[in-house]
């Protein structure tokens, strides 16, 4: 567990940012509240962060902040869905997801012209997983079903997608972000995907 966390002191040392900057970014919602893990140590209360996530995020903020306002950055990182919809031809033209993924969606929801942002994320996640080669098309259908039915319930909060396979049978779980999961021995966690980073990638793709 200790390997995955970094203390605030070490983080500031490593990245060269100041307390003030860190607090300002937190105020602007660039760093989500649930990344701040407070613990008592022998040197008094300390704050820890999930190491990989925070380093990646700070790297992005530092690189982007000169050209982008902090408010725009907050939109980029926010896991909530913006009210956008995309036309079918735009999605194909801009090559956001592969045609196979689109076809899978059409099979499931019938013919469509406009894709809501919510659906778009579902297809995007599907596409990402298909591209890894770890998921079959049939399993993709289950994934779409899960995302369509349940993703809304997280209501903008960060969540992770778990892809689990046991003896050839696949299943998907959506769990709230950063929680720990333990599986029985026979089951295999094929993939854990942080949905918010997929959304981030999608938003960069769109803008």
């Amino acid at each position: 567990m200790e390997d995955h966390l970094i203390s605030k002191k070490d983080l500031l040392e490593l990245t060269g940012i100041s307390y003030g900057q860190l607090y300002r970014w937190k105020r602007k919602d660039l760093i989500p509240e649930d990344w701040f893990i407070r613990k008592s140590t022998f040197t008094g209360q300390e704050t820890f962060f999930p190491k990989d996530k925070i380093l990646e995020r700070i790297d992005k903020i530092v690189n982007l902040k000169d050209n982008t306002s902090l408010d725009d950055l907050a939109d980029l990182f926010s896991p909530s869905l913006t009210e956008t919809a995309l036309y079918k031809k735009d999605i194909i033209e801009r090559n956001i997801v592969s045609e196979i993924s689109l076809k899978l969606l059409t099979d499931q929801i019938g013919d469509w012209d406009v894709l809501t942002y919510e659906r778009l994320i579902a297809v995007y996640v599907l596409d990402q997983l298909l591209l890894t080669g770890e998921m079959s098309l049939d399993e993709g259908k289950i994934l779409l079903q899960v995302l369509n039915d349940h993703y809304k319930k997280f209501d903008g909060k960060s969540c992770d997608l778990l892809f689990i396979r046991k003896m050839g049978i696949a299943t998907f779980l959506l769990i709230s972000g950063a929680s720990e999961v333990y599986l029985e021995n026979n089951a295999k966690l094929v993939k854990r995907l942080v949905i918010s980073s997929s959304i981030e990638a999608l938003k960069t793709h769109l803008s």
Binding site: Y19, Y23, R27, G44, Q45
Partner: protein
């Protein structure tokens, strides 16, 4: 944008109203708003109660006010006794008096004179606190943090002794931290000045540390 002109609420005397979206909300006397309010300007003189969230460009409170939900505003000026049960998010907060916030408080400018209790974290770019009594926050963080004890006439001193006037916090972290009459577990910063009557268990600093002779610091560490 909304093209329809927004209405106002004006209460003089004792009355209550339902929530909604308004241009101006003025309360003189005793007023209650049952629900969430969104408005450009919220002004309360006397006793006001909002039984929901308050969102406004400008909030001006004189007297006693209670807000049950969260407050989001651009600028806030409070004189008197104010209780906010939810989180407070505001660009610039300025108050004289006694303020209680039941959750986190974040602002770019935070100027306080009087007493306060913040159950969560106080996160502001520029924090200026003049202590007149007991002040407490769980955690304080920002760029510039200055805490001053009000001195002066005999009356102030007596009141201070009577109410055991000081600021207490578990953690105080900032780039420039200047404290007086503060009790804290940990203070971390680049440039730290621990002034008179402070009791700090542990100070961690990067560039500069100054400790007043009457302050008590158990451990100090240069990073």
């Amino acid at each position: 944008m909304n093209t329809q002109p927004l209405g106002d609420i004006s209460i003089s005397g004792i009355a209550s109203s339902s929530g909604g979206t308004f241009n101006q909300v003025n309360i003189d006397g005793v007023g209650k708003i049952r629900g969430d309010v969104t408005c450009r300007q919220f002004q309360a003189n006397g006793t006001a109660k909002v039984e929901g969230n308050l969102q406004a460009d400008i909030v001006r409170i004189n007297g006693m006010s209670t807000i049950k939900g969260a407050v989001r505003a651009d600028s806030m000026q409070m004189d008197g006794k104010v209780t906010i049960q939810g989180p407070l998010t505001c660009d610039s907060i300025h108050f004289n008096g006694d303020v209680k916030i039941g959750a986190n408080c974040s602002a770019e400018q935070f100027q306080a004179s009087g007493t306060f209790v913040i159950e969560g974290m106080l996160n502001a770019g520029n924090i200026m606190i003049h202590i007149h009594g007991r002040c407490r926050a769980n955690e304080i963080g920002g760029e510039q943090i200055t805490v001053k004890q009000i001195r002066g006439n005999l009356m102030n001193k007596m009141m201070g002794a009577l109410f055991n006037s000081h600021l207490s916090a578990e953690v105080i972290e900032g780039d420039h931290v200047t404290l007086e009459n503060t009790k804290a577990q940990v203070v971390r910063g680049n440039q730290v000045a621990i002034g008179p009557d402070c009791v700090i268990d542990r100070v961690e600093y990067k560039e500069h540390l100054h400790i007043h002779p009457s302050a008590k610091v158990n451990h100090q560490l240069r990073l």
